[in-house]
C-alpha cells in the first residue's frame, strides 16, 4: 500500500431518522432530504459535484435495478459522472475516494439507503450464502452471528453479561443521537433469539439513508470549517465459508486497519459496524482498540442498522465528531457479508489549527 497522493476529506454528513418502517415513503422520498441536507451544508449543487456514487441492494428492495429510481433524487441533469456499488455505501465512499485521487474530480457525493421493512431481512440475507451448500438450509443472519458469539464465549473472549453491557452502553450512547431507532437506558436484554444472542444483542431492523460529501485539498477547506481528512482507507475480504474461518478473529479487519495506518498512532474514537454485540468483541481485538477509545458514541448499529447504509454512517459519524471538534483522530469501520466477511477501515483526522 502506498500513501494517498491527494488529501481528501469528509466535509458533510447527513442521515435520516432511522425507523422500523417508512412505508409511507418510496426509497427516493426517504433519501432525497438527506441529499439536500449535505448539499445545503456545503452550498454545493448537483451540478457542482464531480462524482456521485451510491450503495444499495436489489435483494433488500425486492426489485431489480432499484438504484435507478433513487437516482431521481439526485437531479442527474445535465448528466452526471456516477457509479453504484451493490453493497454498503462505505464501499461507494471508497470508490469515490479513488476517483478523487485520480484528480478527475474534486468533490464527490456518496449516498446509501436501505429499507429492511418490506421483506424479512433475516431470510433475505440467507441469499448471500454459498448457493450450493448453505443457502438451501436458510440459516438466518442471527443464527450465523450466534455461532460466532458462541465461539467467542467458548474461547473465553466474552460472556453473556459482557455482551449485555455492550448492548446497554450502545443504547445509552444513542440517547444523544436523534436519528437512532433504539435508544435509552431501558432497552431490555430480552429473550434468546438464537442462543446465546438475545434481542438486546441484535440490531434493530429498520429503514434509513445517509449521505456524505467528500472534497479534495483546498476545496475541502472551503466547504468545511474542520474537514475530516481521510488519512488512510482500505478494505479486505476473507474466505466465505464460516467453517474455514476462525470466527473469533478478523484478520481482514486487522489488515485493512494496518493498511489504513490505524496502528501508527492511537485513535480517540472508533465507530464500529458491529451489528451484533459479539462482533464488537471481535473487532476490538482485531483493531487493537484500547479501553480509552470512545467506541460507537452514536450508539452504533445496535441503535440503528439500516442495511447498506449502516457502514457509510460509521464513516459519517466519525467524521461528524471531527467536524464538531469532539475527536482529533477517529477510526471508522464497515462490514459486509456473513460474520464480518469483508471489512473496511478508514482513519480520519482533524487538522491542527
Amino acid at each position: 500500500m502506498r500513501p494517498p497522493i491527494r488529501d481528501i476529506a469528509v466535509v458533510a454528513f447527513g442521515q435520516t431518522d432511522h425507523r422500523r418502517t417508512s412505508d409511507e415513503q418510496s426509497e427516493v422520498e426517504m433519501l432525497m432530504p438527506v441529499l439536500h441536507e449535505v448539499l445545503d451544508a456545503t452550498g454545493l449543487k448537483t451540478a457542482d459535484i464531480g462524482f456521485t456514487c451510491s450503495g444499495s441492494s436489489d435483494y433488500l428492495a425486492g426489485r431489480a435495478f432499484s438504484f435507478t429510481m433513487a437516482l431521481d433524487g439526485v437531479g442527474a441533469w445535465p448528466p452526471i459522472c456516477e457509479s453504484h456499488v451493490e453493497t454498503d455505501g462505505a464501499w461507494a465512499l471508497y470508490e469515490a475516494w479513488t476517483k478523487l485521487l485520480t484528480g478527475e474530480a474534486d468533490t464527490a457525493l456518496v449516498y446509501a439507503y436501505g429499507k429492511s421493512s418490506p421483506g424479512s431481512v433475516r431470510d433475505v440475507l440467507t441469499r448471500q450464502l454459498d448457493p450450493y451448500y448453505v443457502a438451501p438450509l436458510w440459516p438466518d443472519s442471527v443464527a450465523l452471528a450466534a455461532l460466532q458469539a458462541r465461539a467467542l464465549i467458548d474461547a473465553g473472549d466474552t460472556d453473556e453479561p459482557a455482551l449485555a453491557r455492550i448492548a446497554v452502553r450502545s443504547r445509552r450512547a444513542a440517547a444523544g443521537n436523534p436519528h437512532a431507532q433504539l435508544r435509552g437506558p431501558d432497552v431490555p436484554v430480552g429473550d434468546y433469539v438464537v442462543n446465546p444472542l438475545r434481542t438486546g444483542d441484535c440490531p434493530p431492523i429498520g429503514d434509513g439513508a445517509a449521505a456524505v460529501i467528500l472534497a479534495a485539498g483546498d476545496r475541502a477547506r472551503e466547504l468545511c470549517e474542520r474537514p475530516a481528512w481521510i488519512r488512510g482507507i482500505d478494505h479486505r475480504a476473507e474466505a466465505h465459508s464460516l467453517g474455514v474461518r476462525d470466527l473469533t478473529d478478523s484478520p481482514s479487519a486487522r489488515l485493512a486497519a494496518e493498511n489504513a495506518g490505524a496502528f501508527e498512532r492511537p485513535v480517540d474514537t472508533a465507530e464500529l459496524h458491529a451489528p451484533f454485540t459479539a462482533q464488537e468483541v471481535v473487532l476490538r481485538k482485531a483493531l487493537r482498540i484500547g479501553d480509552g477509545v470512545c467506541v460507537n458514541p452514536s450508539g452504533g448499529p445496535l441503535a440503528a442498522n439500516p442495511i447498506m447504509a449502516a457502514g457509510l454512517i460509521r464513516v459519517g459519524e466519525a467524521a461528524a465528531r471531527i467536524h464538531r471538534g469532539d475527536s482529533r483522530r477517529a477510526l471508522a469501520h464497515a462490514t459486509s457479508g456473513p460474520c464480518l466477511q469483508q471489512n473496511l477501515v478508514a482513519v480520519l483526522e482533524g487538522e491542527d489549527r
Binding site: 502506498r2 435483494y59 448528466p79 459522472c81 457509479s83 478527475e104 478494505h235 474466505a239 466465505h240 459486509s336
Partner: protein
C-alpha cells in the same frame, strides 16, 4: 497542506491480460465459481501472472436476481483469489461491465494498487432473463415482457426521425452474426446465416425482428489492469487506456432524448477530450459498441459522434461498419451474438483492447491503433466508455 496534485499524478493504465469464456446459452458443466474462474485464469495466463500478483479484485454483474444469489462476490471471493485482498462489486445495470473496468482502472490510476483483476459475468441459465427483467411490481400495469418491447418504440422513433429504410436493422444483424463466426468465444455461430433469413425472421416487437435481438448467454470476461511498471513486464503488447468516462441521466424525464441520450454524448465527449480526439470518425479505427438490438448501431454511431444526427444509418448501409469497412463496428459479433448481460459491457472493453494489442485473431482489424469500447444500460441512461490505444498516453 496544499493540493498540488490534480491530473498530473494520474498513473497510466494498461491492459495486459484478457480472458473470456466460450459464451453459450447454458454452461451446465461449471458452477458460478467455475465460470468466473475460467475467465480470470485465462486473463492471468495471458498476462503470465498468478494470483499473488493481483492486488485487488473488482467484480461487476447485473441484478442479483438473475442467479438468485445476493451479492455473489462474497461467495466468489475464494475462487477469485480475493481472500486477504480488497474486493469491490459494481452494479450499474447493463453498462456494468464497462463501469467495472473503469472502477478497476481508477485503482491503478490513483496509484492505490499496481495490478488489479477485473471481471464481469452473468450465468443467466440459473434463472431466466425474462423473469429477472420483469419481476412484477404491485400497482403497476403489466404491459410487456423482456427488454425488446422497452426499446422497440425508441427504434421506431429513430426510423421516423431519420427516414432510414427499414432494412438497416437487418444489415447490422447480418454483419454481426457473420463477424461472430470469426470469434471463437461468441455465443451464436450461425454458419448458414443469410440476409434473407434475417429479414424473414419473425417480428417480435415490431419493428424489431427475432434475428435483430441479442441472445441470453452464460459467460464471463476478465482483464488484468496494471501500471507502467506492470506494463513493462508484460509478455505481450499492452493496450493503453487513453480515456475513460461514465455518465448517467435519469431513467425517464420530460425532454429525455431516448434516441440519442445526452449522457451518451457527454460521456463520449469526455473520453475524446482525455484522449485528445477531435475527429472520432477519422482518428478512431474501430468500435465495440453495446448493440443489443440491431438498430442501436446507427443510433450510437450518431450519439458517439461518428455520424451527424440522422446520418448514422448511411454508414451502416454503405458498409462502413463491416469488418473490412472504414470504421468496423462490433468485430467480435457484438452483443447481438453474445449477451451474458453483466459481462457484455466488459466484453466490449476487452475486445477493444484485443484489437489494439493485435490479438483479435480472425476478427482483427489490420492496423487498429485506437479503438473505442462502449456500454450502456438502464433506460438508455447509464453510459461507460473507454478508448484504448497501442501507444501509451503522451501526457
Amino acid at each position: 497542506m496544499t493540493d498540488t496534485t490534480k491530473t498530473t499524478h494520474k498513473e497510466p493504465v494498461a491492459v495486459v491480460g484478457i480472458g473470456q469464456t466460450k459464451h453459450v446459452a447454458a454452461r451446465r458443466d461449471v458452477s458460478i465459481a467455475g465460470l468466473v474462474r475460467e475467465a480470470a485464469r485465462r486473463a492471468l495466463d495471458d498476462a503470465e501472472l498468478n494470483w499473488p500478483d493481483i492486488d485487488a479484485v473488482v467484480i461487476g454483474k447485473a441484478p442479483d436476481f438473475f442467479e438468485g444469489v445476493m451479492m455473489p462476490e462474497l461467495y466468489l471471493a475464494d475462487a477469485l483469489g480475493a481472500v486477504g485482498k480488497p474486493m469491490l462489486r459494481v452494479h450499474t445495470a447493463g453498462s456494468v461491465g464497462g463501469s467495472t473496468a473503469l472502477v478497476a482502472a481508477n485503482l491503478v490510476a490513483s496509484r492505490v494498487h499496481g495490478t488489479v483483476l477485473t471481471l464481469a459475468f452473468e450465468k443467466q441459465s440459473e434463472s431466466n432473463a425474462m423473469w429477472g427483467l420483469s419481476l412484477p411490481v404491485p400497482f403497476q400495469q403489466p404491459l410487456l415482457a423482456g427488454a425488446g418491447g422497452f426499446f422497440a418504440p425508441h427504434v421506431r422513433a429513430y426510423m421516423r426521425r431519420t427516414g432510414a429504410p427499414d432494412t438497416v436493422g437487418s444489415l447490422v444483424a447480418y454483419k454481426d452474426r457473420r463477424n461472430a463466426l470469426k470469434n471463437p468465444y461468441a455465443h451464436l455461430h450461425e454458419h448458414d446465416i443469410t440476409l434473407e433469413k434475417v429479414q424473414a425472421s419473425p417480428m417480435l416487437w415490431d419493428p424489431v425482428r427475432y434475428s435483430e435481438t441479442c441472445p441470453s448467454s452464460d459467460g464471463a470476461c476478465a482483464m488484468i489492469l496494471t501500471d507502467r511498471a506492470g506494463a513493462a513486464r508484460s509478455p505481450r503488447p499492452p493496450a493503453w487506456m487513453l480515456g475513460g468516462a461514465m455518465r448517467s441521466e435519469p431513467t425517464l424525464f420530460a425532454g429525455k432524448n431516448f434516441v440519442s441520450p445526452q449522457a451518451g454524448k457527454d460521456c463520449a465527449a469526455d473520453v475524446y477530450r482525455q484522449a485528445r480526439i477531435t475527429d472520432p470518425r477519422r482518428e478512431i479505427d474501430a468500435v465495440e459498441m453495446y448493440v443489443p438490438f440491431s438498430w442501436y448501431e446507427p443510433m450510437w454511431l450518431e450519439n458517439l459522434g461518428f455520424a451527424d444526427e440522422g446520418e448514422g444509418w448511411k454508414l451502416t448501409e454503405a458498409g462502413v461498419t463491416e469488418l473490412d469497412g472504414d470504421l468496423p463496428v462490433n468485430m467480435s459479433g457484438g452483443v447481438l451474438s453474445t449477451n451474458p448481460i453483466g459481462a457484455s459491457g466488459m466484453i466490449r472493453f476487452a475486445e477493444a483492447a484485443l484489437q489494439v494489442r493485435g490479438q483479435a485473431g480472425e476478427h482483427q482489424v489490420e492496423g487498429a491503433r485506437k479503438v473505442l469500447g462502449h456500454a450502456y444500460g438502464g433506460g438508455s441512461q447509464f453510459f461507460s466508455m473507454w478508448l484504448v490505444g497501442a501507444e501509451p498516453p503522451t501526457r
